[in-house]
Amino acid sequence: MTSRTVRLRVNGVIHAVTVEPRRTLADVLREDLALTGTHVGCEHGVCGACTVLWDGEPVRACLLFAIQLDGASLTTVEGLADGDRLHPIQEAFWAAHGLQCGFCTPGILLTAKALLDENPQPDEQEIREAIGGNLCRCTGYHFIVDAIAAAARRRTSS
């Protein structure tokens, strides 16, 4: 099958990658760009672990082919922290114990970022609805909800 070269802007850096059509964005991020923070769980759009932002919108990286994304601007979990300084949402997860094994965390952080960018003061129900597409098998979700609520409070108070 004919490969093509596409240009992806990931966390502000432009990469040219040559891909065969069936390669998902998730695999290209992990294998070609060595950005292994994007996790691959179910690989068919159910678990949410591979969620990244495309133009600020959360999308499933396992349901996109990299060949479709020439010119796209993406944010992965590696793009959240500013050097050694955690992003406020990451800090809130750290403070509130919003993760245990961490497998689902990158997808949830980016889902939370998209939520707070659009709705800076979500109520608990809105937070739960927003992360409804992200499976976590450790936490039982309560501390994740707490962490997102704390990040929202911090953002609006600062």
Partner: protein, 288 residues
């Protein structure tokens, strides 16, 4: 799993896309949002030789209201309709939040969900409830297919292999109409076990029109015609509404599967119909 290899085309015009469909037809799948197709490719339930990605086709992203008609271009994302609808089409605005999750709706298209025709999905039921239609193009021409003709079975529609959906059209209820939408799913964003959408108009205390659709219970979304008949021309009393709701499953050969037995679907459908009709009657504004 990884999808099997396929040949990839990304046409820039509708003409190019339908020419590719004419050439590759049965061996090709159209890729729009990919939220149904790509999982099928990953699971290798679908293994097309050719994928025609229409995301860069020009002119398919329009969302326009002209009087009561809403035209939704084939590339309009569910998220875009979700943002547009709450003030203008509250039934759509409410129901669409039940379609998957934000990350699914960010990519998933309105037309794609309809063309996929999962019997448990919301948008096909809403298209039927809002007396909608599907505009399909091929090299042979353009045709408009009514929702009542479009859905033929699970994942089966009236579309031919060489046809591309370019638009869906919806008839928005008048502002005084009441609406109800209820569904039962195990978790937020899951496919519905069953659901009900209803639009009712009331004049001088009497139901002037009623359109009620059930989904998830049968191979396609269905009009609950016995319910509609039992309401139309009757006083909109609690008794009439409750009686009409019981008729929502009249003649229904409900689906049994791993998620729920048929009897359960019938029972829940009646309960949801009662709630959706009560909501619709409460929201309907009297007209003189």
């Amino acid at each position: 799993m990884k999808p099997a290899p396929f040949e990839y085309f990304d046409p820039r015009t509708v003409d190019e896309a339908v020419a590719l469909l004419e050439t590759h037809g049965d061996d090709a799948k159209v890729l729009a949002g990919g939220q149904s197709l790509v999982p099928m490719l990953a699971l290798r339930v679908a293994r097309p030789a050719v994928v025609i990605d229409v995301n860069r086709v020009a002119g398919l992203d329009g969302l326009r209201q002209d009087g009561a008609t809403l035209s939704v271009g084939a590339l309009v994302r569910q998220r875009a309709l979700e943002r547009w609808a709450p003030e203008r089409a509250p039934l759509l605005g409410t129901a669409i939040r039940h379609v998957g999750h934000a990350a699914i709706r960010a990519r998933g298209t309105v037309a794609g969900s309809i063309a996929h025709a999962d019997p448990a999905s919301e948008l096909p039921a809403l298209l039927l409830c809002l007396d909608g239609s599907v505009v399909a193009r091929s090299r042979r021409g353009t045709r408009t297919i009514a929702a009542s003709e479009f859905f033929q079975g699970p994942l089966t529609t009236a579309l031919a292999a060489d046809e591309l959906v370019t638009e869906t059209r919806w008839t928005l209820p008048p502002a005084h109409a009441g609406w109800g939408f209820r569904e039962m799913a195990r978790r937020q964003g899951d496919f519905a076990l069953v659901g009900v959408a209803a639009v009712v108009t009331i004049a001088r205390g009497v139901v002037a029109s009623a359109r009620v659709v059930i989904f998830g219970a049968a191979p396609t979304p269905l009009r609950a015609r016995e319910t509609e008949r039992a309401l139309t021309g009757q006083a909109a009393t609690a008794t009439v509404l409750a009686d009409a709701a019981q008729r929502a499953t009249a003649g229904l050969d409900a689906v049994s599967d791993i998620h729920a037995p048929a009897a359960y679907r019938v029972s829940v459908t009646r309960t949801l119909a009662a709630r959706a009709l009560a909501d619709a009657a409460a929201r309907a504004r009297e007209t003189a």
